[in-house]
Point group: C2
Chain length 103, copies 2
DNA sequence: TTGTTAGTTTGCAAAATGTCGAAGTATCAA
DNA sequence: TTGATACTTCGACATTTTGCAAACTAACAA
């Protein structure tokens, strides 16, 4: 199991501590579940996962970068559009840590 | 699986987003691992889990209440001392959230 | 009773965060 | 080339967060 340090972990939680940012991440997670379960990554256009957020484009842009800086997602450009994907390693690290049965 | 409440979950993440607060929680988690793995709770004196935090007593007091308000821990008084314990359900929620394999 | 320990409450200041409007860039379409 | 779409960057501003000092309370010891 890879070791996680407190500073890094707190950044992950910070990234998910804002309602809009969490919602954005959850939208992406919903889209990605099936692929993640199979051990694959899943690419998703940003436009498709921000429809239920009531904030402006600058804020969205800012939130995406926070999620990326925390290591939770990766992004690439595809033409005009931004493509997002969840980093499975980030999910795994934290899941392992908080699994009560992992002693 | 229970549906995720964004507002509630973001509060949990917010509680763990501060380095000192996370460290405090992790100290408690370290102490609690064995019991949690057996499905039990574990009581811990506050004094024992704050030794590596470089902040004053008022800040500690504040952080403990934040963790409690987020539903991550429970506290009781024992004489002069405060006793803390991790709420196992909170752990389960977090583990489930980050488990990519749970579809 | 007097002192000590363990934590709480209050009030305050510095720093970080979240959102926005305005302006800018890059891609693609007409 | 003109316009539209999909972001990004840059201040600015209000709100929240974090931590501290000072004063306070409750439990216990001497």
């Amino acid at each position: 199991m890879s070791k996680i340090d407190v500073a890094k972990m707190s950044k992950v939680f910070r990234a998910l501590s804002n309602k809009n940012r969490l919602q954005l991440f959850l939208n992406l997670l919903d889209e990605s579940r099936l692929d993640l379960a199979k051990g694959r990554t899943h690419d998703c256009f940003l436009t498709n996962i921000i429809s239920n957020l009531r904030i402006g484009a600058p804020s969205i842009s800012h939130h995406v970068r926070e999620l990326e800086a925390a290591g939770l997602i990766e992004t690439t450009k595809e033409g005009k559009q931004l493509v997002c994907s969840i980093r499975p390693e980030a999910m795994d690290d934290i899941a392992a840590f908080f699994s009560a049965r992992s002693v």
